[in-house]
Each structure stands twice: as C-alpha cells, then as structure tokens.
Symmetry: C2
C-alpha cells in the first residue's frame, strides 16, 4: 500500500507557497482556469517519477521572476512515512532528498510510489503516432519491473552513443561499418532482446485486460491493440542474428539519417475500434474514454505486478465525456485506493453523482 | 448576410441518413459521445470550404461498408437561397454541385459562405508550432480576400514544383543552381511579396483586435501576437533582391532537405501571455480561452473585410472552461448572427445560463 498524505510547493509554476493534504479514496481539486490544478498534479508526479510529465526542462516550473522551486511530498508506504523533497535551482539544477538523504540516482525513485497520470497531454496517445504509444507502455513497464527499467536505461544509453557516432560518420562522409559501431551494436543485443520479449508478453496481457474493460463499458464497440515489433525473431539466438543483419543492412540509411532504424525504438503499435484505426474514426469523447480505460488498466496492471495499488492523478477527467460514459468511469474509479481528480466546478461532481456514491470525498478549493 | 438553413447527409461518417434545420441565432446540437456531433459540423464546413477541416482524405468520411457519401446544404445569402451538394464516390472522387450546376474549381466556393470553426483539433494552435499558426491566418485571409486566395494558390503551386525539382536535383547529386529552378524562383517573387505584405498589414490589425478582446475578458493578463516574417524587406524592390539572394544562399540546404527554406512558408508566429510563451506557461483552460477569442476575432475580421457575418461552428465549446470564462465567451457569442454549438449535455446549457439569456435557441438532439 502506498498513499500520498500531503504536498507543499514553493515558487512552483503560479504558486508562491501552497500546501495541501490528501485522504485515502477520492480527492477533488476544484479551481477556475489558471489557478494551478494541473500544476499541483505535476508537482506530485515530479516527486514520484523524478521528472515532470508536462515539460522536458524542469526550469520552466520555476515561478516567473524567482530563482528556484521546491516540492515536498509525504507518502505512506505500509506503516512507514517517507518524505521526498525536490529542489531545483536555476543555476545548479535539481536535487532530490529522500527521507533527508540526497538521492544519488534519480531513477531509483521510479516505481517506489507507483502512479498513473491522465492529462490533456495524453491525447497524443490516440492520434496515430507510435512514439506516444511506446512511451505509454514504457512508463507502465518501468514502474512495474526493476528489470525492465534496468534494460531500458542500458539500451537507451547505448542508443544515444550510437546515434552520436552515426552523426560523426555522416559528417566525415564515411558510409562504412566502423569498429566502434560494431562494439556498440554487440552490447545492444541483450538489452534489446530483454525489452522486446518483455513487451511482447506484457502487451498481450495488458491488451486482454484493456479490451475486456472497454467492451464491458461500451458494448457496441470492439477494441483491439496491435503490436508490431521491429524484429520478429522468437528465440534469443534468432534475435541475435536478425539484430546483426539489420544493423548491417540499414547502415547507410542509419548514417544518413543519424538515427538507428532497427530495435525496440522502432516497435509499432496501433489502436483499432471496430477494426478501423482509432485516429480516423473515433470521436473526441470516444478517444477520451479509450485513454481513461487504458489508464485504469495501467493501474490495475501495476497493482497486479507490484502488489502496490497506484495513486491515480486524473486531470480534467469529465471534459468531453457524456454523462453515461463518465458515470461508467466513475464506478471503476471508486474501487481505487487513492485518486485525485481536478475539475473547474463542483457542480460537475453532483452532475456525475459522485457525492451521492462517495459522501466522504475530500474537496480542495484552489483560490 | 449569409446563413445556413439546413443540412442533409447520406452515408457520411456514422450517419446513414440525417437531416437537420437551423435557425438564425444560437443552435445547439446535443448528443452523447460518438453520436456524430462533430461529424455534422464537419459536413457543414465541407460544404462551405470544399474540404474537411478534420482529415486530408475525404474518403475517410464515407460510412463503413458504403461506397459514397453525400452532403447537401441550403444557404441563404441576402434574399437568395443556394444549394450546395458535395458527392464523394469511392472510385471517382469528389464533385460539388452549386445550385444544380457542377463547380469547375472547388476553390471558387471558399469565402462565399464565410465560416469560423473551432474544434479540438485547434489545440495545436497553442502548442508552440508555427505551421498551425500560419494555417490559422491563411484560412482567415483566403476567406476574406479573393486577392490573397489567388496569390496564395499561385505561390503554393510554384512551391510544390520547386520542392519536386529540389528532390530531383538531390537524387542526381547536383548541388548547383539549375536554370529551371531560377525560372520558378523568378515567378515566385510577386506572389511571395503579395502574401508577405498582406500578412504584415492584416496580422497587425488582427492582433490589435484580439489583444483588446483578450485583455477585456481577462484583465489580469497581457496577450501578445508576434509575427516574424522570413524576409524583412519593406519595399518591393528590396524584397525582390532579398528573395533572389536567399534562394541562392540556401541552395545547398534546400536541395539536401528537398524543401524550400525562404519565403512566406517560413514566416514565424509566436503567442505570448504575460511575456511568456503560451505553450510553456498557460493552462489548458487559458489556451482554450485564447483559441476561442482568436476564433471570435477571426469572425469579426471576416465580417469587417467582407461585410458578411460568418457562421460559427463551435465544437465542445464548454469543455475545459470554468464558469466565469465560459460566461464571458457566451456573452460575445450571443452577438453573432448564427452560431452552432455542440455539447454532450443540455445541463451544460442551463449551467452556463444560456437558456436564460437566449430563450429562443434551437436545440437538436442527436439520437
């Protein structure tokens, strides 16, 4: 069991100083446009995942005119309390203090307080691109498996080295296989294989879980998730030789594009609704429902794999959903251990009958 | 004055057959997720702009399993009725029948029934890229000026020829100035200059109008639109020589990228809220407000330029806006001649007090 008890932020986004306490179960953050609802969720996720889900550069989170920000969360894991403090200084960058000791590797934090975030940024997930879909599954897998996290980090470090080397070869106009490239490629095989076989197995499990949830809530629809791995081999021996062959075959294009074409970074995903690509046929509301149910399945899968029920952060959950669909979603959400939902308006809550089902919900009003 | 009186669609998106009538003033389309609210707006815009604002390939609009779609609108312009019929056949493509005669050039339709559309697809407008911003202004200008439309089409036809030629030169590895390229470049100068000087003047006018509207509705904010043209020259003579110089200077990169770097297609725009880029600081609700006010300003500008008040199509207007902001928006909308708004729920309408202000609104319930 892991829960968030409180957060306090300083000079973060539009907040000079703000503190909030959370209860188990359903928590609502109510506030007008621009009062900082999403920023509070961002601060919580920063303290769980070591980086913001909204921006690449943490510096953007500093309040205008200030030189630092600080976010502090108190978590409860079983019977123990933990404190996570993230400090970002304009000139010195970020440090993370875990239970009063500085964290050496930020990624050690990932998965310790499992988290599922739904935000308007997720809409890219249903817009057809494979990158966001890969990111979705990677975020789920790194939180639920230390092994996956390890191989994922190792592989992507090698990939960055490889792409830098390709760029160098392009500048030198050397379109040949370089010994340094071969050295990197050989080191890539094991993590690539680990990522690949993990994905194959777990995406199938996820897909079963998700499609069932989708078809239950939305009986007239048939949902399908397709996974097309970049390399098709089944056993490690075959994978190894296919990987080597591909690296050699794509050499010229890899160098010209300064980008590595084969490997897990090219795995493709597609989402289908009634056998049609989601991006060309589904309405905005149907996409929102798809994403929300994916997020719920993500949480259930994390819970199944790690035996820890994750915290759900759901930003502007009700926008775009009709009454019937949001009611179905709310039913599933009320089974969760701890959920934080933002909304512009408390009237939404009674409209969706949440207060009738869950009279003990906690409401935070942002000024 | 131009109004839409009715639409009927066949085998379009999820509709087998559907007809609807509209009144002047405020029209509401109410329906659950996936009932076709956005598809109806799409059909209306297709009959006014000759193509869908949601997809590039019209074929996607055909109902699954069918071989054609048809959309028919009745418009009133002054005292005269006009009928526009768009037919799309799977194998034969599109034809447009205007008052029972086939239209030779689809673009002749553009601007005849002026239209402003706000849809969730617009969110790209506030996400930092320049392309969507250029598209926004181009759509406004082509509807309000036949001259702009003419030069815009001419320039983009030349640009397509130029890029095809660059691709050819790249394949042949000829990194030199080709006489055919020079021929195209010379023809590009006049339309490029026309587009450029039109944009400079009109964007300033638009910006004044918009920023004033924004600051009125949102007094604690300061909005700013910045326009950075790709070429800076002021008079035609200077522009001409700058254009030539740039084409020669960028020759190698143009060929390597198969893309033309100089000219109006590289004009840049940025949106600032309180002197910060909108994409890094504004909340989702603030972005929605920004887009909605841009759309209202677009409509006012079209009305001022063409003396025709445009039809407003506002898809899921209320999502993401808080009560106060949506009320401000609604006040401005009620001044318009004809508006069609979609929503999942009639309760939204009373929540936003629209029925109290405008008791004669027309409500269409989608099954």
């Amino acid at each position: 069991m892991s829960l968030i008890s409180s957060i306090s932020v300083r000079q973060f986004r539009n907040f000079s100083k703000y503190e909030a306490r959370f209860d188990p179960g359903l928590n609502l953050i109510i506030g007008a446009n621009g009062t900082g609802k999403s920023s509070l969720l961002e601060a919580i996720s920063l303290n769980a995942l070591s980086k913001s889900f909204r921006v690449h550069r943490d510096q953007v989170c500093i309040k205008e005119g200030e030189s630092y920000f600080q976010t502090e969360t108190i978590w409860k894991k079983g019977e123990t309390e933990h404190k996570v403090q993230v400090n970002y200084l304009k000139d010195k960058g970020k440090n993370i203090i875990f239970d009063d000791a500085p964290l050496e590797k930020f990624s050690d934090l990932i998965g310790y307080f499992p988290l599922v975030i739904q935000s308007p940024e997720n809409s890219a997930l249903t817009d057809g691109g494979s990158k966001e879909k890969r990111n979705f599954f990677d975020r789920l897998f790194v939180q639920s498996s230390r092994t996956y996290l390890y191989h994922y980090q190792q592989y992507h470090q090698l990939l960055r080295q490889r792409n830098a080397l390709l760029k160098e070869l392009k500048l030198k106009k050397k379109l040949q296989y370089d010994p340094r490239l071969e050295f990197i490629d050989e080191k890539m095989i094991v993590p690539a294989w680990q990522i690949s076989s993990f994905r194959k197995e777990k995406i199938q499990q996820f897909s079963l879980r998700f499609c069932q949830a989708f078809n239950e809530s939305f009986s007239r629809y048939e949902a399908e998730i397709r996974f097309q791995p970049s390399l098709n081999s089944i056993g490690f021996g075959d994978y190894e030789s296919e990987f080597r062959q591909r690296c050699q075959k794509n050499l010229e294009s890899d160098i010209l594009l300064s980008r590595s074409l084969s490997g897990p970074q090219s795995d493709r995903f597609s989402f289908l609704l009634n056998r049609q690509p989601l991006e060309s046929t589904a309405s905005q509301g149907e996409r929102k429902l798809w994403i929300t149910l994916m997020k719920l399945s993500e949480g259930e899968m994390i819970a199944a794999e790690t035996e820890e029920k994750p915290l759900f952060l759901l930003d502007d959950l009700f926008a775009e959903l009709d009454l019937e669909n949001s009611f179905t979603i709310v039913q599933r959400i009320l089974n969760q251990q701890q959920v934080i939902i933002t909304s512009t308006d408390l009237a939404d809550i009674s409209k969706h009958k949440i207060d009738a089902i869950e009279p003990n919900l906690k409401v935070l009003n942002l000024p």
